[in-house]
Amino acid sequence: MTDSTESFDVDAALAALTAQVEPLIAEHPDAVIVGVETGGAWIGERLHAHFELASPMCTINISFYRDDFSMVGLHPSVGPSNIPAEIDGKTVILVDDVLYTGRTVRAALNELFDYGRPSAVKLAVLVDRGARELPFAPDAAGLKLDLEKDRRIKLTGPEPLRLTMR
């Protein structure tokens, strides 16, 4: 690993993601956006505002379903799940900042299904960095990278959003 920090163009990645989410929304105008706390919620809010969705923005806290709970405990700074929208029978667009192992997505699906049974769940991520450990693939990804396991990519925000890699 090196000490150098590399930055990415968040606006370009966000624009690419938005373009890929557009047909999903066009096909499912009653879609509900659910952002994974905290980075996915920031991205989800931008998509939600852009598409002017009728359904309220939702956020999800995956702490209760993390498979590394016994090693890391509950994350103190993550807000609670807030799902004001009805998700039964709806298409949910699950939004996260970085797709890596897929473990966050698994936990997020568990938490999501505590609130109802969506007809479909689509996965939209700002960055797909590769190195998956579980069988998930994004339906929309603003930036695709193929990184070694020891690289760390992180979104900071919410204002301004910055995407850096160490």
């Binding site: 702490s63 209760f64 379903y65 016994s70 405990g73 509950l74 799940s81 505590d114």
Partner: protein
């Protein structure tokens, strides 16, 4: 007793022994975590896998079906295995020392003990001797503390009257001997409440109300004046002086949460009680089941609070040999 051991070296919750001295940030984090675990009215309860593979022992040296049941439900909703031990009726009768009971159950693979005990400081005593991977949650020790009850009380209050600093709260009953009152008062003080009145006959009032951070009065009218929250405490009939029946009637008249007495509180005052209630002693059924009563909501919230405490503790304890005493 040393209750500092309830926090680990990083200031995280290691055991839960008392609300006294619990840092505000940690106390609020327990309440925030519980917010995610208390189901919406009508929604199915949340069942999460956080304590999968963990074993919770409800170790009750004093009977309490209600408290034990809420801890049992909380542990089961976190996917723990739960064992209920009424020690008062088993090993204790055979002369086993309390710590021997603890060590034996630790060897069976216990991870969390929920301890109810008639002696002050019992939970801290267990915590001081528990193995490194084992956590103790105090479910009531003598007249000292009942921290999960205090936490569920402030959680319930926060949902209705979140402005703790401007809250006027009256606690009516045997505050001197009430572990519930002590834990609730410490939690309220930490959250910034300064106007806490305790009301009861002289012998029920705490010996040093100033040190506890409350004002004490035997006059229910003065005590309830403009109160936003009125909390009744369960009265043990044997503690009411004099002729048993006359004592109950007098207590009910002078200190009961009755429509007549509550006329002195704020019109929108909310009613709380840790349960189980003694109808016709410290409260009337009419008041207990009125629209302003939070009593059943307290019970519901208690499960979420106990889930939050167990989840936070389980996230802090790891490693250690199950055989170590």
């Amino acid at each position: 007793m040393n209750t500092d051991i309830q926090l680990d070296a990083h200031g995280q919750l290691r055991h839960l022994l008392t609300t006294e001295g619990l840092p505000k940030s940690l106390l609020e984090r327990i309440l925030d975590t519980a917010e995610s675990l208390v189901p919406e009215v009508g929604a199915p309860p949340k069942k999460v896998p956080l304590l999968r593979g963990k074993t919770v022992f409800n170790l009750f040296f004093e009977n309490s079906t209600r408290t034990r049941t809420t801890f049992e439900l909380a542990a089961k909703r976190l996917s723990a295995d739960v064992i209920n031990m009424d020690v008062a009726t088993s090993s204790r009768a055979k002369g086993e020392d309390d710590l021997d009971t603890l060590f034996t159950l630790q060897a069976m693979g216990a991870d969390i003990f929920v301890v109810r005990h008639p002696e002050n400081g019992a939970a801290a005593h267990f915590a001081a001797h528990a193995a490194p991977h084992v956590a103790i949650i105090n479910a009531g020790d003598g007249s000292h503390a009942h921290p999960t009850q205090g936490l569920l009380d402030v959680f319930t209050i926060r949902r209705h009257r979140p402005d703790f600093e401007n809250l006027k709260i009256a606690i009516v009953g045997d505050v001197a001997h009430s572990r519930v009152a002590h834990s609730t008062i410490h939690a309220l003080r930490t959250l910034g409440t300064t106007d806490i009145r305790v009301i009861g006959p002289e012998r029920f009032l705490p010996p040093a109300p100033g040190a506890l951070g409350v004002t004490a009065t035997t006059d229910i009218r003065a005590g309830l004046a403009d109160a936003d929250i009125v909390m009744g405490l369960r009265i043990q009939r044997e503690r009411i002086e004099g002729d048993a029946l006359a004592g109950v009637a007098d207590y009910h008249h002078d200190f009961g949460l009755t429509p007549a007495n509550l006329a002195h509180a704020s019109k929108t005052a909310l009613i709380m009680h840790p349960g189980p209630i003694n109808r016709g002693v410290e409260i009337t059924a009419e008041v207990a089941y009125s629209d302003q009563s939070l009593i059943l909501e307290q019970v519901r919230n208690g499960i979420g609070i106990r889930m939050a405490v167990m989840a936070m503790i389980a996230g802090q304890t790891r490693g250690g040999s199950p055989d170590a005493p």
